[in-house]
Symmetry: C3
Subunit: 218 residues, 3 copies
């Protein structure tokens, strides 16, 4: 009880650490989804790196632009940029060596985890800046969805998030409201765990069970 209470106003240092770690994981997850998508479209080496960057940093950058929050997280910690470069190189070498052909299936996992993480991170940042609830939820959705949309636009495809017919952005939106409701009562670390698990889990479940959104008259 006292533990939870003590956590509620998370100490700045710990909040910073936790935030950084989550942002790192989500960035890696989306960078990987970018590498896989670009590889599937047979872009060249540079194209793979650029698409990975767009997928990894697009959402967070747009969020920071909209919230007028500077410096960007990747300017503050250039470490992020190096990491994505290294991950791209490693992924390319690994796939070359093991003659792996990335399938559409392979993107689902990092994509779902990144979706959950970025939604919660984006929303948390907007809430910290005192934005109203709907705007904060929107920022969460933008953070998590825009990177993937940019990735698909660069690859000249209709963004999967818009035409997949299996809920994706919808879970980010619903999960965003869940997170907002939880934040009213529960400590941050618990909200984050529940929020991320719920969003990623529901997305994976949607793909696995092939849940479909009501179609627009087929």
């Amino acid at each position: 009880m006292t533990d939870l209470d003590a956590l509620q106003p998370l100490s700045p240092l710990w909040a910073g650490r936790l935030h950084l770690m989550l942002e790192l994981m989500a960035t890696l997850a989306f960078a990987l989804s970018g590498v896989l998508e670009a590889a599937r479209k047979r872009l060249d080496m540079v194209g793979v790196v650029v698409v990975a960057f767009a997928a990894a940093f697009g959402g967070g950058t747009l969020r920071d632009l909209l919230l007028d929050h500077r410096p960007f997280f990747w300017v503050q910690d250039t470490f992020f940029l190096w990491l994505v470069i290294v991950v791209c190189a490693a992924a390319m070498l690994f796939m070359r060596q093991h003659h792996l052909q990335p399938t559409e299936r392979a993107i689902v996992w990092p994509d779902a985890i990144g979706l959950g993480l970025f939604t919660v991170i984006g929303e948390e940042r907007a809430l910290a800046l005192g934005q109203p609830a709907l705007v904060a939820v929107m920022m969460g959705v933008i953070t998590s969805v825009f990177g993937g949309v940019l990735r698909d636009v660069l690859c000249n495809e209709v963004p999967r998030a818009l035409a997949d017919h299996r809920p994706y952005a919808l879970w980010a939106f619903a999960g965003g409201w869940l997170y907002w409701a939880l934040r009213l009562a529960l400590p941050v670390w618990l909200c984050i765990s529940v929020g991320v698990t719920a969003i990623a889990g529901l997305r994976l479940l949607s793909v696995w069970r092939d849940w479909r959104l009501p179609a627009w008259r087929q």
Copy 2:
């Protein structure tokens, strides 16, 4: 005469109200054009909402970003966001129920009205911030055209504004200069009425009479 003079420096309250109402109408017009386009491309439910949001808020958001004007109009009045969500839901239900198949023709009307309204709004905001004439006109064009361009890019089509061969952005550009000239002499409400009518009217006329821009050697 005294009436017009009194209006010239429009009272802040009235100017705010008028501005809000125009922005509202233009936002709805473009949201509807987004819904119709997304439905034609058979995106899923979420895709329809996202494309509607992009069409409705894309132009104004880019303008505010470029002018460094915060908070965005949709952060200041989250009412806008709710409205678009409701409009999307209503439009989808209505079209499902009435078995309406949106045609390319159906987008022309809201598109033309939104074009006129957003051009004038965007230009007025830039002028209010003391930007030079050409920049203000450009902001008007960007506000009105970018939403549609984003909508078409998300749907993986060559933006209609760029390849329609019937003048579209051109009327926004010409109407922007007309508005600027009128503003030198006439009260705001008259400038707005004339500007919006001229731009929307010319666009509709272009479609109806099939006026063509000089082609690039066919």
Copy 3:
């Protein structure tokens, strides 16, 4: 020796002039590449102008947005906007009159020169604002590559920079580091000359000798 030393902290006036001239040349080069691309895709007159604007101002605008640098260079000198409008009109008239069919080949030259110029300009601006080395190099790459990417996305093509298989953004990245290293020791004007020549030269050489990036398993 004294000469070079005197130049190192370039007098503000001269630095401003040099910067303006370079930005002008790069803007023209990219505007031309936009005109040629749009003409090849048979966009209408307005589409040609919009794509030229996107190619010419897209990279620098994104850089200024990310660095939070206002006013934009094209707001500060609206002269730029007029120039691009005039260039577009002239290019269209000229191509119409001489029955020139723009080939893919024709874009290579202005594209390569713009690549070199914009990389150096973008990086220099980021360095002037005290950004770390990697971020400055990234800003150079973004400045020079984003305009072309935007141009290709608007024309509904996979961006050439990502799928050309001949190094393009890679030279901007490598040249950015070269420029950064040179800046530690040499006067600005020399760094700029060497940097631009190296990047543009290597790009042209890549196209001419058909150097290929290691492919992603063909």
